[in-house]
Amino acid sequence: MTVVLDHQPTALVIARVPTAAERWRKRYGLAAFGAGIVLIWILIAIAAPLLTPYKPDFVDVANRLQPPSWAHWLGTDALGRDVLTRLLFGARVSLTTAFVVVVLGAAFGTLVGGIAAFARGRVEGIIMRLNDLVLCFPPIILALAIAAALGIGALNTMIAMLVVWWPKFARLAHSLVLVQRSQEYVEAATVMGFGPGRILLRHIIPNSVGPLIVLVTLDLGNAIMTFAGLSFLGLGVVPPTPEWGSMVAEGRELVQQWWVATFPGLAILTVVLGFNFLGDGVRDWLDPKARMR
């Protein structure tokens, strides 16, 4: 039996349903682009020595401050070092420090925040107040002070960054674990007789990692910026180690020789942008509610 309509409800019938590929592109296109940038930079960091005939710390004063040419695609700096070579090797420093700081900071913060939320009571009070104490300083100032106290060097800078890095993960993990610990599957684990360590590590934390992973991805770009910032201020790496922040610092006063500071700046820009796009995509993927846009 068909019902004869006295009109066609054309206004309701949609012109065309987007295909799966179109929906995917709309949802994850930018994330894939970001992932591509990040991947390219990672490959560059690994293959740096193969991509350039020069050494990053090879000084050639005769050829100092050369503009971009076929011999030096991105020109040379005040000591005649090839900017492109230093840029490629700089990726190694930036990416490594960022990964180490964020991964260690996230691991420590998650564990500490998770313990605080799971234990409640006095343990929670102590951990979370300590957390607040660190968070009440502007992170870069605190890192600057700690790095300065420890002395110049990549390792010391990383330690300083770690000190200011864990609290945001601790705070996030704390709130996530608080939500999970009252779930019925946690009660079920208690009823089975499992101990608190097992419940926290095997049951609660695996269910809390989603937002933490999003924060890690978004934070990698942030860590690269902070490290470059500290280096720019003269704290990060010991010269002549190639590092983007310190390269920008070296080109700071060379207004005529724009290539010395511009290209490392662009490198920072692209990699941070890449991580941010990727992080947004990961968030959309893990949190369907944010997908609506």
């Binding site: 019902v3 409800p9 684990a189 208690t190 007789g193």
Partner: protein, 690 residues
Amino acid sequence: MNMHATPPQAAVPTPALEVKDLRTQFFTDEGVVRAVDGVSFTVGAGETLGIVGESGSGKSITALSLMRLLEEPSRIVGGEVRFQGRDMLRATPEELRNLRGDRLAMVFQDPMTSLNPVLKIARQLVETMVVHGRYTPQQAAKRAVSLLGRMGVSAPERAIDSYPHQFSGGMRQRVMLAVGMSNEPALLIADEPTTALDVTIQAQILELLRELNRDFGTAIVLISHDLGVIARVCTRTIVMYGGEVVEEGPTDQLLADPRHPYTWALINAVPRIDEATSGDRRLTTIEGQPPDPLNQPTGCRFAPRCPFRIAKCDEHPELEDVLPGRKARCWVTQSGQKLELRTRVAVSAAPQAPVAKETPATTEAPVLQVRGLVKRFALPKRGFFDAPRFVHAVDHVDFDVRPGETVGLVGESGCGKSTLARTIIRIHQPDAGEILFDGHDLAKASPRDIRPLRRRIQMVFQDPYASLNPRMSVADILGEPIRFHRLTTSEAETRERIGELLNTVGLGPKAAQRYPHEFSGGQRQRISIARALAVKPDFIVADEPISALDVNIQAQIINLMLDLQDRFGLTYLFIAHDLAVVRHISDRIVVLYLGKVMEIAPAANIFDRPLHPYTRYLISAVPIPDAVVERGRSHVQLSGEPPSAVNPPSGCRFRTRCPIAKPVCAETPPPVTQYAPDHFAACHFAGQLS
């Protein structure tokens, strides 16, 4: 009769709502879901129509389609909806805004989220009235007070200046109804308006709906999964399955003589509070799950689960007249065949019905003895020097559970039944009292002492979506406790045991490799039961194990639990708010109110001879899916809401809502007194409410 005609002319009044061949589809990544697939019905002016069906049957999407409230990725792709003759599907957004909340109102299931939490009640009510230009702000403010009073909100002048969070769920639903009725709509669509409420409050709201229909002539479309609720309010009912209407007819006829096997199954799956449990407690269920919405069967959509299936069912049936005024979409009943309902034994016909299942001898020593159990929760202090305040969740509770029996624990939400269960199983630490389990006092045992006993007492939880760790496969969920308690000696044996457990609860061995989200609610509850069984317990606390499930799945789970009890000699402490279900499967029932035991009675006696006034009210509030019985019943209605457990009433806790309370009730708390073998009540005037 020409079904294709345009709305009838002036002679016949225009129906409030006409729906013809409505089709709503979801455009998902996996494919097109035909959520509403050719639904047609008519609601006459001032009529009450019920829509029943399980979750996924398309009943809520139908309601949203009528209101044009669908969101991406769902779209109405065809059909016709006429509200008072106006074409809803071609209405402009502005026309729709003018209709919604004015001539056409809707009340949603969750009263907790359908009011704006940052606006006072007054503003929300007045806004609806003023926006549609029917009242000036001054008139609207006056009318808001009288509306709230009409909806049964006590002290409406004060209530109007409150925020939604200051109200309970039942009160908020009254406010929602006040908002819905504020412009005297011609049609009110109520989507599961009482599902989130307690039975006593549900009874009040349903009564209110009936009155609104009677006094204002408002047509009502009531959507529910509960046939009893429909029977109490609606004169006509349609039954939905797989996005289609499968049966339509007057409610009393439809319930007494269903003409579609799905309706038949719905009626059979629910135990009725007015019938005795005779011998076998198993319920008649249909097997299987609702159809996959992406992949509807090409023939009759119900055929794969239908016990009456015939060869012809491979063809898709149409909704056709089977009796005068009755329509059904079924090949079997189109020839006029009746579907026999399970025979019912009326309670009154079988007083003292000897329960066929051997009730454990009274002399047998209880496996669980709860004595003077107290659990309080501290509230945050209001000020530094204030005395600490407590919620008295469980307050000096005594009861026994004997080996092999099922004890039902019932009460309204907030009565402390879940807290009591969680305290017995030591998820919560009790504040006082004894929990003697097989001679061990669980109340004072340290976590280390409890660990070996954990194996023997297990729990099945309410929410099948929260009680399984979503990151673990079923094999891990079942395997972890087995390995932890070293119940097997080798990995191979563990795997074998997992397969055996899945088999026990009616799931195939393939389920082991899958994750909880791949299962439906009923299947998850089976996994939850399998997990409890994994450690070979002898005592299972089931905290509302069926409340979140559709009636057919409820019946399947009840049958499974009864089977397991027979096979393994399990003892159950079964918590539920559904008195009919509890009465059906329990040997004895404990009724709680505000943390105190009101009555303990054998299940067979509680419907016949309730001693406590509160028990009587609870029973009276349960709707019965039989329109004739339902109309003939005298509904004693419990007024008001449970008082706060922070400052419970002095003396008898129930006295503030009790119609036979006397001054003595405020002074002396009534002791739990024995009135018959196994029958206890805590009331100064037990059995005196007539």
